[in-house]
Amino acid sequence: MIPIHLEQLEFRYPQSDFLLKIEQLTIDAGSRVAIVGPSGSGKTTLLNLMAGICRAQQGRIQIGEHSVGEMSDSERRNFRISRIGMVFQQFELVDYLNTEENILLPFAINQSISPTGEDRQYAESLAVQMGLGDKLRRLPNRLSQGEQQRVAICRALVTRPSLIFADEPTGNLDPKNKTRILDILFDINREQGQTLVVVTHDTQILDGFERIIDFQDFTVEANTDSQTDRMLEKRS
């Protein structure tokens, strides 16, 4: 279980007026945090910054003992693949890989980690746990959307990460599947203690979160006048 701490963070996309500025933000280790706000408010950008996918121009991102900003590209990649599980709105499964191969994808794309027999068993147990035990050989196009998102969650968990970042994980799901996916994420958080950060604009799914960071109430805005940007924090 590791906490996340952001301080004096500034991020601007190249050749864009968008500016994300966070003075201070701390996410406790093992907590369930939802980041909500309208589209384009910077939720996903924040997630990408924390995951080390983007590099902030200024400020500090501290995840546990690691300062993401000070890491090299390869260190951030290795850190991401070993410590962070990513779940996306569009599931982002690889269409030519079957369920099992999609779950084991993190191992295939990073030569620094190779799956052990134990990892394979773990992948299979995750699939079983998610109700995908009989669908290991199926390609994504033969899975329902709920099933696809469960495969994506398995893929996020297969490297046994300390953090789970989910970007609109229920955005493409029907209410029944939304509940199921959230229950799964919360169960994992409760059972394994991973820090769960979920970005969503759906306010109906916020019930189970310990903390909600609402970008709409902040003065953090995409504004043409970047000099006036600032960010406030609200605790639920």
Binding site: R77, M86, D95, E101, L105, A108, I109, N110
Partner: protein
């Protein structure tokens, strides 16, 4: 699971694209290579055959037709010349003549009437059986024997020249006396008979029942002067056997009998020059050609034409390359999300490039292997293909 498996799974999943790309690469490279091999083979075979055939004498007309006929027994045969030409060459003492008369076919393979000297000249040892011994015997080239599944002792029927020519030439059932060793030359594709046997096929020699002993009134008519008149009911024998071989005879002067070419082999250059002078100086209907000169001229023309083929192949290859680049670029664009996901999951840009490059590399490798396989096949069959092309579609 490793990155290589990712690439293979990607290729497997996009079967149609893979097949189209592999086929494009295959065809673009295979066709020019095939032409290159066949032309190389053509050049090598024809030059080699021409070099081993010092001089050819035949009827006036196209030197190329005469050369190809004498070298390859091509179906486009020159006009016949008299057998006396053989004796004429021999009488000069400047060359050993080898007569050739190729007019008929047996199961589409050319029947080459010649004499025993031909086998010695071409250095054609027997693989099975014996050499030509008697009228009606034939010795098969290795390919003829293989394709027709014939062995010494079997019979082979000559093809009628014209099925409507009912009153003319009757097919002759020949006895397979021997089979030659393979030589990778046109001799593998020919049916060799004694010159006299080819004249029998033509009807210049024949055998029939002894009319003096024939008692059937339908076949023999006794004239008022006591002579016997054979009627049309007397058919010539279509097969030469121990029983009827004695009845075979020829009509007319052998010297006037037809042949299509004489190969002349001189012991030295001086004799060769003298023989050439002899035939050039004569105002008759024959010509003497040196195959190596004729073929050199032909090949220089062929290689001129090949330059256009080469240019065409280069243009096609470039067009295909551009299309391949387009297809690959478009397909990489379609994979941007997939690549982004992998990047987000922790994949390095180097690995992403490796994945994309490997796909192209595997496609090229696979295509190259197919091309190599096909080219190998072409290379192995090139001799036969060139042979059948030169013989004129026979065989």
């Amino acid at each position: 699971m490793s990155w290589t498996r990712l690439v293979i799974r990607y290729i497997q999943y996009h079967k149609l694209k893979t097949v189209v790309l592999v086929a494009s690469i295959f065809l673009t490279t295979f066709l020019p290579l095939t032409i290159l091999i066949l032309l190389g083979e053509f050049n090598e075979k024809i030059i080699s055959r021409a070099r081993s055939t010092p001089m050819v004498i035949g009827a006036e007309g196209s030197p190329l037709d005469l050369t190809l006929h004498a070298l390859y027994f091509s179906s486009k045969r020159p006009a016949p010349i008299r057998f006396a030409t053989v004796e004429e060459v021999r009488q000069t003492g400047w060359a050993r003549p080898v007569p050739l008369y190729s007019r008929y076919t047996a199961r589409q393979f050319p029947i080459v009437g010649t004499n025993l000297a031909y086998f010695q000249f071409r250095n054609l040892p027997l693989a099975k059986g014996e050499s030509l011994s008697r009228l009606g015997d034939c010795v098969l080239g290795s390919e003829v024997a293989r394709q027709l599944q014939l062995r010494p002792g079997d019979r082979l029927l000559s093809d009628p020249e014209n099925i409507l020519d009912l009153a003319g030439h009757y097919p002759l059932k020949m006895l397979v006396r021997g089979v030659l060793e393979p030589s990778s030359t046109p001799d593998d594709w020919a049916v060799f008979v004694d010159l006299k046997t080819s004249w029998v096929i033509q009807g210049l020699g024949h055998g029939h029942q002894n009319l003096a002993e024939e008692t059937d009134d339908l076949k023999v008519e006794v004239r008022s002067d006591g002579t016997l008149q054979a009627t049309a009911a007397v058919l010539p024998y279509m097969e030469i056997t121990d029983e009827n071989i004695d009845s075979f005879h020829f009509h007319g002067e052998t010297a006037d009998f037809p042949i299509t070419a004489v190969i002349a082999v001189s012991p030295d250059e001086k004799s060769e020059t003298l023989l050439m002078g002899h035939f050039q100086g004569m105002e008759n209907e024959t010509q003497l050609v040196r195959p190596v000169v004729v073929i050199d001229e032909l090949m220089s023309l062929v290689f001129q034409v090949k330059k256009f083929f080469d240019l065409n192949a280069i243009l096609i290859a470039m067009a295909t390359l551009f299309l391949l680049i387009l297809v690959l670029v478009l397909s990489q664009r379609l994979r941007i999300r997939e690549m982004q996901t992998m990047f987000k999951l922790g994949c390095s840009r180097g690995t992403l490039l490796l994945l994309q490059f490997s796909e192209i590399a595997i496609l090229f490798l696979f295509s190259s292997m197919l091309v190599a396989l096909a080219v190998w096949g072409v290379w192995m069959m090139a001799g036969n293909v060139v042979q059948s092309l030169l013989i004129g579609g026979q065989g």
